[in-house]
């Protein structure tokens, strides 16, 4: 492989990984945008999504087979279930805490995260479950750059979900209300918007997106595990902050940027791949020092 080939392949890798991060980061950013909460449990919702998808797939595979039909069906079911779980979490854990000190609500989010991951751990005995699907390794070969059909399907579905979300946010009344709430809650109340309802909806959508990503991960990587949400949660959080937390477009951009950073971070000459996380976190910190609101975040003017 020539250097160019390697770089092209890494570009492809980065974009695939990045679209994934973006999907999870969207949920983070939506929730943050609307109630200014860093939902640490988001990565765990992704994990729950993967497990529930796994469960549904084993249930429906008898009817629909383990191929695309079954996967799609279980993905949708998982999105709905996890969406409702997200709503439940918001109602039980976050709603009563909105008036509490900010740190307390963050700890609540951490606690919810621990409840979810430990709950799944207790249920599964900490085992890895094989998410066996019979998707092949065939793919497109362009020069020395190789992308499997599964990867293409993955990126396409992530893109579809994001486009749908984008459409929802920009074209529907509820989507517009969501953006408006992020700007000014009281003004929204005065427009006759039931703010609590919209917040609930936001949690539903954010969680459902995480679940979709979880199922896709389960299908693509082939295993699910109670711990799988942790790393991706961290990465998605990072991606959301890079893009400017609270910004939908920022989350998408941040996801791609982080994916590319990691892909090329593995490839930096002289230092090994073991430093790639130092590389991406280092860039993140530098970015925040010089542009504290992330790439697409808005600077807020505070009035006395």
């Amino acid at each position: 492989m020539s250097t160019l080939d390697i770089l092209l392949q890494q570009l492809a890798n980065g974009l695939i990984l990045g679209s994934f991060y973006a999907l999870v980061a969207l949920g983070y950013t939506m929730v943050y945008g609307i109630i200014k909460l860093l939902n640490f449990a988001h990565g765990d919702l992704y994990m729950c999504g993967a497990f529930i998808g796994f469960l549904f797939l084993s249930l429906v595979s008898g009817l629909l087979g383990e191929s695309w039909g079954g996967i799609l069906c279980s993905m949708i079911l998982s999105m709905i279930t996890v969406g409702l779980l997200g709503v439940l979490i918001q109602r039980v854990a976050y709603l009563p805490m909105l008036a509490a000190p900010r740190l307390s609500i963050l700890i609540t989010a951490l606690a919810v995260s621990m409840v979810l991951s430990n709950g799944v751990m207790a249920l599964t005995d900490g085992e890895y479950e094989a998410f066996s699907t019979d998707l092949g390794f065939e793919g497109l070969e362009m020069g020395n750059v190789f992308v499997t059909y599964t990867q293409i399907a993955l990126v396409v579905s992530a893109a579809l979900l994001m486009v749908t979300l984008f459409f929802f946010i920009n074209r529907t009344m509820y989507g517009k209300a969501m953006r408006a709430i992020a700007i000014d809650q009281d003004a929204c109340r005065l427009m006759g918007i039931n703010v609590n309802k919209v917040i609930t909806l936001t949690f539903f959508i954010g969680s459902a997106l995480a679940a979709a990503a979880g199922v896709m991960a389960g299908v693509y990587y082939g295993s699910v595990h109670f711990f799988m949400g942790f790393v991706i949660g961290l990465k998605a959080f990072t991606a959301a902050v890079i893009g400017g937390i609270g910004s939908i477009r920022g989350a998408m951009l941040g996801g791609l940027v982080l994916g590319l950073l990691e892909a090329f971070g593995t490839q930096i000459p002289f230092i090994g791949s073991e430093w790639k996380d130092v590389f991406s976190f280092g860039i993140l910190i530098l970015l925040l020092v010089f542009k504290p609101t992330g790439l697409l975040g808005k600077t807020e003017i505070e009035r006395m």
Partner: protein, 371 residues
């Protein structure tokens, strides 16, 4: 008011702790089991505990040791260094005559000091980082072959397959890094080339960029020295990216789960393994007894844990007393003890004298002995 309630609660908690640490009745032979029974490695730990309990049962049914019945106390190390020291203290406090167990090397490491200071004989059944050898104060014995033995087996395989350029991947924990490092040293000392030496973070799922990097170095063989869960993903992604040459995994990946998760991508992968029951003719009886008692198949380290307990009983019998120093002496003097995993004798460094590593290959979704 609130404060006094808090004080009371604290008091209760402390009392609870005292109770937990209390010693059992005398006239029994108390053996400690140290394995992770909670946390991410709980499955493996419980499997080992089961095997040890089974061995103890068998010994008791055959009349016990020196006329005493074996009773056991389990200390949960949770595969975490801090909790492991607590578990070791618990066992030492419970005044056990000896300890069998040890799964995660990182967790076992700091306990060596505690057992060493207390002079407690300790048979380490699964942990096998070479760091353990240096930290040993003479009271601990490794019945699992160490990294050195595994490296020899691995290098033998790679050489026999005509490999020259080797890529090594570990996972940034003590065990897999140790194995990777030793392999690298050995391979380089043979005048061959290690073209890639990489790390994968635990829990990360996407390894495509790493795969690209490794592929670009065109290695003849790839050695994954870490655990099965992430190993399966790495192998799958390597194969997906079109890498068709030799892939081998270390004993941490010796699990049917690797094949289950990796699917057809893992076909033809080599695995270095400590002797597990499936490949041990002598373990048939054990395997059946285990299935009967626990209604499940014994896992990778159960045979060694079982052997560890049996060896301990044998050594105490030979020592003729429960004096700790005498037991240690007796263990050290073990000569070809007939374990189900193979004969056990020790080197001066308390490691296994003869490696019992075998090489397996994945065929049709199953591990079979590589002939």
């Amino acid at each position: 008011m609130k404060k006094s309630m808090l004080t009371a609660a604290l008091g209760c908690a402390l009392t609870g702790l005292f109770m937990l640490g209390q010693a059992a009745t005398a006239a029994d032979l108390k053996i400690g089991i140290m394995v992770p029974t909670t946390g991410s490695e709980a499955t493996a730990g419980k499997d080992m505990e089961n095997a040890i309990l089974l061995a103890a049962d068998e010994i008791n049914q055959a009349g016990g040791v020196l006329g005493m019945k074996i009773t056991t106390t389990t200390g949960d190390d949770a595969c975490d260094p801090q909790q492991a020291t607590a578990a070791a203290s618990k066992l030492v406090s419970a005044d056990v005559a000896a300890v069998v167990g040890g799964y995660c090397s990182g967790a076992t490491l700091p306990t060596l000091k505690l057992y060493g200071d207390a002079g407690v004989p300790f048979i380490i059944a699964a942990s096998n980082s070479t760091k353990l050898i240096d930290a040993n104060q003479g009271n601990a014995f490794l019945v699992n072959s160490t990294g050195y033995d595994q490296v020899n087996t691995a290098v033998e395989l790679f050489t026999s397959k005509g490999a020259n350029k080797l890529a090594i991947i570990h996972q940034g924990d003590g065990y897999s890094e140790d194995l990777a490092k030793l392999t690298k040293e050995k391979w380089s000392s043979l005048g061959k080339e290690v073209v890639a030496y990489e790390v994968v973070n635990k829990g990360e799922q996407d390894h495509s960029s790493l795969v690209t990097r490794i592929k670009s170095k065109a290695p003849d063989a790839i050695f994954w020295t870490a655990y099965y869960a992430d190993g399966a993903l790495v192998i799958k992604q390597l194969r997906q990216a079109g890498y068709r040459k030799l892939i081998a995994v270390g004993d941490g990946s010796n699990s049917p789960k690797l094949l289950e998760i990796g699917g057809k991508a893992t076909e033809g992968v080599f695995c270095f393994s400590n002797p597990t029951v499936d490949y041990l003719p002598a373990a048939k009886a054990f395997s059946e007894a285990y299935k009967k008692k626990y209604d499940q198949d014994p896992d990778a380290y159960s045979s060694l844990a079982y052997d560890g307990m049996k060896l301990m009983a044998d050594a105490i019998q030979r020592a003729g007393s429960t004096d700790k120093a005498a037991i240690i002496k007796a263990i050290a003097a073990t000569k070809d003890f007939k374990g189900i995993a193979g004969p056990i004798s020790f080197t001066p460094k308390n490691t296994l004298a003869h490696s019992n590593f075998v090489t397996l290959i994945a065929k049709g979704g199953k591990w079979v002995l590589n002939k």
